[in-house]
């Protein structure tokens, strides 16, 4: 929930992780290693056994899906077992499942629009909330708070019917624009918290130099909160790539669906090609996993900040 971000003592604030914060926490760990208690051998073993078991529990289902995705055609899939030989034929077949190549392309298009636009608009709104005084500020803020809390299952019902009645379905923007709106609340809270801390001196210095509010934002503030913006970009990408409900309802025709929606609908039908499906699951996980591999710290920090997407 938003309010968590607004308090500094909470899980993590934008300023705290990513860049400078990450370095800080590394330092503090190093400090503890010197001064803190050293674990006796038995404690070390217990720690690794516990962490190892939970890690195993976490990756097991994923490993089993990966193994199934390289099963040869003639081997029966059963439980978790190594394939007799590794066969990548499933992967080439996966592209044909539920029009998967079109779905993947749509997912890319949606992310390419949603991520930068939602980030840009979040920065603009957060700038006003963090540094300006204006009438109705509290009330408008409450509107964004609402966007952070409510389950999108509710507003999506009239949204679908109203867009239909207006004849606005059947374009990729029927999905893209509401998705941006849905992500905005979090983005504005996130960037507001980032701008909110020790930016006053920066702003005053810029103003004395005669900079306009627009220049101050892009030349002074934005460079000073880069780690927070990177985290936001990472989160928006993950959310956009993995978004399910909106894509399912708003994309309209199958030709406009994203990978999760298209494969999700396909799941509902009778699954005859488990290997191909597993391969498709692996393929559609590659983009988020690559982002995760490189931006893990930002991602973890963003998710654990407590902000809930609608």
């Amino acid at each position: 929930m938003a309010t968590v971000i607004l308090h500094d003592e909470g899980g993590a604030s934008p300023r705290r992780g990513g860049g400078p914060g990450a370095r800080r926490s590394k330092r503090s760990t190093a400090g503890r290693e010197g001064g803190g208690r050293r674990a006796p051998l038995s404690a070390k073993v217990i720690a690794h056994v516990i962490l190892g078991l939970f890690t195993l529990f976490t990756i097991m289902p994923l490993i089993s899906i990966f193994l199934i995705s390289v099963y040869p055609e003639n081997q029966l899939v059963s439980g978790l077992a190594l394939p007799e030989r590794v066969d990548f034929a499933n992967y080439s077949r996966a592209w044909g499942i539920a029009n998967f190549s079109v779905l993947m392309r749509n997912s890319v298009v949606v992310a390419l629009f949603v991520v930068p636009i939602a980030t840009f608009i979040s920065i603009l709104g957060a700038y006003a909330f963090a540094t300006m005084r204006f009438r109705g500020k509290a009330a408008i803020f409450l509107l964004f708070l609402l966007g952070l809390l409510l389950p999108y299952e509710a507003p999506i019902v009239p949204l679908y019917y109203d867009l239909n009645a207006l004849g606005l379905t059947g374009s990729p923007f029927t999905l893209i624009v509401p998705e941006i709106a849905l992500f905005l609340s979090f983005g504005i809270f996130w960037m507001r918290a980032a701008f909110g801390e020790d930016t006053r001196t920066l702003i005053e210095a810029a103003r004395i130099d005669g900079a306009s509010s627009w220049t101050t934002l892009w030349r002074v503030l934005v460079p000073s909160v880069k780690p927070a913006i990177v985290t936001l970009l990472v989160l928006f990408f993950m959310w956009s790539w993995n978004e399910f409900l909106l894509a399912l309802v708003l994309a309209g025709s199958p030709g406009l669906q994203t990978a999760p929606a298209g494969i999700g609908l396909f799941l509902g039908e009778r699954v005859s090609d488990l290997r191909g499906l597993a391969a498709a699951a692996i393929i559609m996980s590659i983009p988020p996993l690559v982002v995760y591999a490189f931006m893990q710290r930002s991602f973890i920090q963003g998710v654990t900040s407590g902000g809930v997407k609608g």
Binding site: R37, A47, F54, F134, A154, Q296
Partner: protein, 305 residues
């Protein structure tokens, strides 16, 4: 934070009254807010108001809606199937929120203050489920629960040869969906708590030791209060996700068998888009929204207490 700019000094020192303020003319803040506000009004606030409006009607989505007052809400109270949806949500909260948080705290208590080599590798792996699409999660876990799947294979190792299709069972389907949620949230809770425990002042633990505190007392009076903020974050994330849960139910069971795994989020979808009971779906949506707002405020109070 907003108080920063509210200081009178800002405008006086610039010496130019309104024009001298950073914001410039009074309409400038609204210009910055306009794109976001317009989108939120059009795609969140307005549809939500429409949901409230529709919730007082009987509507199949095609012919004109018929106003029926609070009948839809009365039905939620009276219909055992509709009431059971919220019962299922409670079960999911147990699996999505209570189990991961309890286990996360237990592990944190055991590991508190010990330096563990390779922690960042564990963290990276434990957090992976958060980066994956629910569709991928569903595919992976459908296989776990399949009749020839991993769970039955595991059970046969202990001599229980079962061929249960767990997701097709009236008793087991809901816990199975729940366990999938546990799997997804447990890493999140562990990562949150293990990071949080490092922020607790080491001297508190040393003081506890000097006072001869037992492990339980150390946990109860040092670790637990120190993790209050993290627990609140974990509660907010996991409870809201449990209440909103639509994805896993849609993907793994479609609410079945029967309605044994259906939850408000899924029922809204099914009624609005498959069964032409849009009014009833809207009333469920409003009820769910109120419930989530209520729960969020309760958690926020716990956090700030």
């Amino acid at each position: 934070m907003s108080a920063v700019t509210a200081r009178p000094g800002v405008s006086t020192r610039s010496g130019g009254g309104r024009a001298g303020r950073l914001a410039g003319p009074a309409y400038v803040p609204y210009l910055y807010l306009l794109p976001g506000l317009a989108l939120v009004l059009a795609f969140v606030v307005y549809p939500m108001l429409r949901t409230v409006q529709i919730s007082f009607t009987r509507w199949n989505g095609v012919t004109p809606p018929e106003f029926i007052g609070v009948d839809n809400y009365a039905e939620i109270l009276a219909d055992p199937v509709l009431r059971s949806l919220f019962g299922h949500s409670a079960v999911l909260i147990f699996f999505y929120a209570i189990i991961p948080i309890a286990l996360g705290l237990l592990i944190t208590a055991v590991l508190a203050r010990w330096r563990v080599r390779g922690m960042s590798a564990y963290r990276a792996l434990l957090f992976i489920p958060q980066a994956l699409s629910m569709v991928v999660v569903a595919i992976a876990w459908q296989w776990v629960f399949a009749s020839t799947g991993t769970l039955n294979q595991l059970l046969s190792l202990f001599g229980n040869d079962v061929t249960t299709a767990w997701l097709g069972s009236f008793e087991w389907a809901l816990p199975a969906v729940g366990l999938t949620g546990t799997w997804r949230q447990i890493g999140l809770c562990m990562v949150l708590f293990l990071a949080g425990v490092q922020k607790i002042d080491t001297s508190l633990y040393e003081a506890a030791r000097l006072d001869g505190a037992s492990a339980w007392h150390e946990f109860r009076y040092v670790t637990l209060p120190g993790l209050r903020a993290e627990i609140a974050v974990a509660l907010t994330l996991t409870v809201t996700i449990a209440l909103k849960s639509f994805d896993l139910v849609f993907l793994m069971t479609k609410g079945g068998p029967g309605t044994s795994t259906s939850v408000p989020g899924y029922e809204i979808f099914a009624r609005a888009f498959n069964r032409g009971e849009v009014g009833s779906a809207a009333s469920l949506g409003v009820t769910l929204t109120l419930l989530i707002v209520l729960v969020a405020f309760a958690i926020e109070r716990f956090r700030s207490e």
